[in-house]
């Protein structure tokens, strides 16, 4: 196996020296940040546009209600009829005209009010207008019932039920979602890595086929060694890419902080103040700090070392299984356009794992679907990672489930790699024919 390191090294260098790889490594974080900034900027632009609304109030109600706010400016029209108002609103380019006809009761007035505009109005603007009517109507009803608005404010109350496990451990609402979110991030990372770098493995195999070097190589090394070297080398390039991202994100953070040196000073000062304040305020609001403490405790209790370890196990096994399938597909075809029919069945379980994982693990991490998918080897790397932040053992994932899923995964890994290597071995020497599934099955017996 002394040639394996040579192959890994070549595959690794071929990948990281590739121009598109270098560009993607340095460009994609910039693109990502740029995208976020752009979206934020565009959203703020969208929001900052102040809406102008004309109000033609013919009633005796709502005389003082439509006052200009941050996002809507109201202009009152007097002594105009409806048609005149509409015309002038359109000429002046206002967002619309609110027409409040006269009637003898508030309800009747509200019911007959109309909003005219050139295009369908935005839901935010309608919300603003509707809430004005709603507030007035509620106020009037309360007044009719003889309830003062102060009393009404006191009536409002909020209630959350306390939960605990049988052993008396406090449960906190939402912590399952937080945990599943953390696990989901791990699972998502695994899926993205498999799809991106599995694709790289496949393209690299296709490249060796189309450049016709494959037969030269496999007269020196075993096809299996080449496949394995390719899979490992590509994975190492991927890890390098991730490492560059993490390091550069860290550096960027430090740089940004040093630029905002002053702010950092205030930040620490603020933190000190907060600490002091918290110290003083703690006795006065015990319930709030207790909840916060519970959350932090619970998040800190997530076994990150254990998570990292299992992430590594599930990541490696999942990647090896999928990338060897990708390698086999690459070997079976002559060009990338022929890969579609074979790729779909691979993406399917990955997608299923992510979506089923998100829905079932969030709602019930111990439900039969969540358990089933975290045992099934093609989905377990993702779904089990979503469940694991709960811990292993009592209150978390039963140990037997973890062990079973890893055992199944290893078994599948051996089986799939064996099958993939067989298809690979035959496929790399086949040219000119787009194979069907039937052909692949035949190749297994060569």
């Amino acid at each position: 196996m002394s040639k394996l390191p040579l192959i890994i090294k070549r595959e690794y260098l071929a990948k990281v020296r590739n121009k598109s790889f270098i560009i993607m490594t340095f460009l994609s974080p910039i693109l990502m940040v740029g995208m976020v900034v752009l979206i934020a900027y565009l959203t703020s632009l969208n929001d900052s546009e102040k809406k102008a609304v004309a109000v033609l109030n013919e009633s005796n109600f709502f005389t003082a209600d439509f006052t200009t706010t941050d996002d809507v400016a109201y202009f009152r029209f007097f002594n105009l009829d409806l048609q005149q108002s509409k015309d002038s609103v359109e000429r002046m380019g206002y967002s619309g005209l609110l027409h409040i006809p006269d009637s003898d009761s508030l309800e009747a007035v509200a019911k007959n009010a109309y909003f005219y505009s050139k295009d369908a109005p935005s839901s935010i603007l309608l919300d603003r207008l509707e809430s004005v009517f709603q507030d007035r109507l509620r106020e009037k009803k309360l007044h009719d019932l003889g309830v003062s608005s102060q009393d009404f404010a006191r009536v409002k109350s909020k209630f959350e039920i306390n939960t605990a496990t049988y052993s008396g451990q406090q449960n906190i609402k939402g912590i399952n979602e937080i945990k599943a979110g953390i696990g989901g991030a791990f699972g998502y990372l695994i899926m993205m890595f498999i799809i991106i770098y599995g694709g790289f493995v496949m393209r690299s195999v296709i490249e060796e086929k189309t450049s016709r070097i494959i037969e030269v190589i496999i007269s020196s090394v075993k096809p299996f060694q080449l496949m394995l070297g390719k899979i490992i080398g590509t994975a190492m390039a991927g890890v390098t890419q991730f490492a560059i991202w993490i390091v550069s994100a860290g550096l960027l953070f430090v740089v940004v902080l040093s630029f905002l040196d002053l702010d950092m000073g205030t930040l620490t000062a603020g933190q000190d103040m907060l600490k002091g304040a918290a110290g003083e305020m703690a006795p006065s609001i015990p319930s709030v700090s207790k909840t916060v403490n519970l959350y932090t405790n619970e998040v800190l209790k997530i076994p990150f070392m254990m998570l990292a370890t299992f992430f590594l196990i599930y990541f490696v096994l999942g990647y090896l299984i999928y990338s060897s399938i990708y390698a086999a597909i690459g070997a079976a075809v002559d060009n990338e356009t022929d890969t579609q029919q074979f790729i779909f069945p691979i993406i399917l379980p990955l997608m299923l794992a992510i979506y089923v994982g998100f829905f079932s693990v969030f709602s019930n991490p111990h439900g039969p679907i969540a358990v089933g998918f975290s045992l099934f080897p093609l989905t377990s790397p993702i779904v089990m990672m979503m469940r694991l932040p709960e811990g292993i053992g009592e209150g978390g994932v039963p140990l037997w489930e973890v062990l079973t899923s890893i055992t199944l995964l290893i078994g599948t890994f051996i089986g799939i790699v064996w099958l993939a290597a067989k298809i690979y071995r035959v496929g790399i020497l086949m040219y000119g024919k787009k194979p069907s599934y039937k052909d692949l099955y035949k190749w297994l017996k060569y």
């Binding site: 192959i7 071929a14 016709r212 037969e215 007269s219 020196s220 090394v221 020497l429 035949k442 017996k445």
Partner: protein, 311 residues
């Protein structure tokens, strides 16, 4: 041990298709052995078995006296018919990589590459990418990479495809030089004309079976059938023609009265060329007398025809 490679009844199936059927060959050391046959006959499958890319269903292969084993890879050089190099990799780096896969050290590989690059006068290609080279240039690199680890057995599958005539000659000379230095060479092709000048031994493969093998000169001797091409200088062409036709089995008769030149072919029942020549001297001046030795191509076609008649 005079054979570098012996195959005993090697058989290979792909599903229901038989690619090789009990093929037994003996490839002598220090010679060029032609593996001939039309496309799809099974030559490439046999070569892949020798290179341990695929494995026979039954039969055995003996390499240099030992059963073929993985470590023999380092002593075999193979230039496949479907060949190429990594397009975006630099020439030197790629050659070193391929040499190291054959078991050379990095240092040794570089040293030998320098020798070969100087020899073929391509030293300034070292840092170029393959995609910047022409097809013929890339083929030169491919050839160097094949022979660099100084293998005992070299296998060339259609080596001259992709070369222009000048480079093809260059490579042919290199192949002959390697043979003179003691390398055994298998030369696989469906183009018979290149066989005549290079191969000492041949084997014909047809429809997955070996139908003929041996020393090329022996085979030719066996297949020659006392045909002679004759050129005579005489003004009496017409009269002689009848005389000749009555005495011998004559064909391809051609008489040019302006130049008094007569050409024809005679088929003798036995190898009594002496008697024929003696008779011809009485007719005029002989300016051409040659026994017609069948070409490899003719032998090949005849063998296949005979075979299908017997079936």
């Amino acid at each position: 041990m005079n054979s570098i490679l012996v195959t005993n009844e090697v058989t290979k199936h792909f599903g229901s298709y038989t690619a090789l059927n009990k093929v037994s060959l003996e490839i002598p050391k220090n010679s060029i052995y032609g593996l001939l046959g039309p496309n799809g006959a099974g030559k490439t499958t046999l070569i892949r078995i020798i290179n341990q890319i695929t494995f026979p269903d039954s039969g055995s292969v003996i390499f240099d006296g030992e059963p073929l084993a993985p470590h023999h890879i380092a002593t075999i050089g193979y230039l496949p018919e479907e060949r190429g190099l990594y397009k975006s990799m630099k020439v030197g780096e790629q050659a070193v990589y391929l040499a190291r896969l054959k078991g050379l050290s990095k240092l040794e590989a570089k040293k030998r590459l320098k020798f070969w690059f100087d020899r073929l006068d391509i030293g300034d290609w070292w840092n170029k990418k393959i995609q910047e080279l022409s097809k013929g240039m890339a083929q030169k690199i491919q050839f160097i990479v094949t022979v660099l680890h100084e293998p005992k057995l070299l296998i060339f599958d259609e080596p001259f495809s992709g070369f222009d005539p000048i480079n093809a000659n260059l490579i042919k000379d290199e192949i002959l030089r390697l043979r003179d230095q003691g390398t055994s060479i298998i030369f696989s092709t469906h183009r018979m004309e290149s066989v005549e000048e290079l191969c000492e031994y041949i084997a014909l493969i047809h429809e997955s079976e070996k139908i003929l093998d041996g020393k090329l000169t022996d085979i030719k001797k066996e297949y020659k059938n006392n045909r002679f091409a004759i050129g005579l200088s005489t003004p009496h062409g017409e009269t002689l023609q009848q005389q000749l036709y009555s005495k011998f089995d004559v064909s391809d008769f051609d008489f040019n009265p302006n130049e008094s030149q007569m050409n024809f072919t005679v088929q003798l029942p036995s190898d009594d060329s002496k008697g024929l020549l003696h008779y011809l001297t009485t007719l005029g001046n002989i300016n051409h007398f040659e026994e017609k030795i069948p070409s490899a191509n003719e032998i090949f076609i005849r063998t296949i025809q005979n075979k299908s008649i017997h079936e």
